[in-house]
């Protein structure tokens, strides 16, 4: 077992603490974050407003009338002092997400190719030839943060986010990949689109993907994409800053 991490607490407004447990994205982070999430629920009870875990952090939002930031910090330090990782669950579900990689749906393919020094087909191959781990849900309902990307594909976000990213867009940024469940603004590089329904309020659990699941993107052609109900409306290029 790896040694207990050295965490730090950062102020994130008058009703929140950001607990930073790690500085790198690793699958092994998940067991520690799950344990901390569970312990916060127990310790804070109904003083807790929300808990937002992500790759390396847990944002703890509390009711500032019920507990002061100073008291909350003291509680968190005590929790961190006796933190043990949860038992790793026996592997999450493997999802296959059919994906149409094309300039029409992935207008940033040329940018990624240029930054990586790969051809466009090699970018697609590098993205679709491995399984990804779901590290967190966030940004939008059912939006799953997945990793880790092939080193060659690592690339920065866009300098200016798009105002509207079409639903189903498959995207990469840093060492991460994701698929947009709904139309939202977004700053990631778009490389394709999936017809999968990633968020459904009527579905038990709401989100297709859950933390700990594994995901494989499977390249499909346009006709398969359309048969599966995919929307072929072209994506607008990124706006100039």
């Amino acid at each position: 077992m790896k040694p207990a991490p050295l965490p730090c607490l950062e102020r994130a407004g008058l009703d929140s603490w950001m607990i930073r447990l790690f500085d790198r994205i690793e699958e092994s982070n998940l067991a520690w974050l799950a344990a901390l999430t569970r312990d916060c629920e127990t310790a804070f009870g109904d003083m807790l407003v929300d808990l937002v875990p992500s790759y390396t952090t847990l944002l703890v939002v509390f009711d500032p009338l019920r507990i002061s930031p100073c008291e909350a910090r003291q509680q968190l330090i005590e929790l961190l002092g006796r933190l043990e990782p949860v038992e790793a669950d026996a592997g999450g579900t493997l999802h296959e997400l059919p994906t149409w990689y094309d300039l029409q749906t992935g207008p940033d393919l040329p940018r990624v190719a240029e930054l990586s020094g790969l051809s466009v087909p090699a970018v697609i191959e590098a993205h679709s030839n491995r399984d990804y781990c779901v590290f967190a849900l966030g940004f939008a309902p059912g939006f799953a943060f997945m990793g880790l990307l092939d080193d060659a594909l690592v690339c920065p976000r866009l300098d200016t986010p798009r105002q509207q990213v079409p639903a189903g867009s498959v995207a990469i940024a840093g060492r991460q990949t994701a698929a947009y469940p709904l139309v939202t603004p977004g700053g990631w590089n778009l490389i394709g689109r999936t017809p999968a329904r990633l968020f459904d309020r009527h579905r038990d659990g709401l989100s297709l993907l859950r933390v700990g699941d594994r995901v494989r993107f499977v390249a499909v052609d346009q006709s398969t994409f359309e048969q599966l109900g995919g929307d072929t409306t072209p994506t607008a290029p990124a706006s100039a800053p």
Binding site: A12, L14, S16, F139, A140, G174, L182, T184, R201
Partner: protein
Amino acid sequence: MISGFRVARAGPLALLQDAGRFGVRHLGITQGGPADLHAWAWANRLTGNDWGAAVLEVTFGGLELVAERDMTIALTGADLGIRHNQQPAPRWRTLVIRSGDVLSFSAPVSGLRAYLAVSGGFRGTAVLGSVASVTREQLGGFDGQGSSLRSGDRLAITRSEATGDERQAPEWEQPDYRHTATLDLLPGAQIAAFTGSSLFEAFNALWRVDQRADRMGVRLIGPALRCAVDSLISEGISLGAVQVPPDGQPIVLLNDRQTIGGYPRLGNLTPLAASRLAQCLPGQAVRFRATGIDRALRQHRDFLSRFR
């Protein structure tokens, strides 16, 4: 269903808002709730409602409502040129309206968002424990889909009699939103990663509210801020976070913000400063003022304990 109003004409955006949707942010579901907590809380207070009752948030104007019952209502927040049967409608106080009366919202005079509360509260369709309308997520509101009001909609209320005392908010609680706002900012963990001159600019420049401003976030235009950190591993974002993408132009994240993001942050506006910013029209100027946790907490606790 008891209909309180019929929508005779829809405006650009009118949403039902309770205090917000909590406890589901780990699924990526945003908080929602009133963009201006101050005006929203006053609307409920004046009509005798509890904290958390659903109130109509009318952005910009354009809306026309016809009352279908006798009701006690209150209008707070922005002056959107609101008329009650052709006469200027009083704001920040209770108002008795009769079945058939017309309330019309024209366009911003001062501020951007007006709040309409009805005694007893509006009745929406709760989704995941809240009626807060989030259009992007299609959650909450009267229809459960987070929709903005449409022409012909009937707005459900919980009870129908015109009751309650006459109440009025003191004058000092009624902001003139045309003034340049000073927004209290609680510094965050990445503040030291900004260059010295950028920090000087951040707290001394006048920032102009951009057209790209909505319930999710407000982009500000001014000198480009430089930060040694380009991007972070995505992490949870709290209300009022002032994030700075690589183009150096801050974006203040409001109620409908994404739950997780990866841009470095100057810190967080206090909840009431975020509320104040939500009343600014594109083109208006604002400035940031650094505040400390003791002052910020005292101010917010004072506010909450008066209303909750």
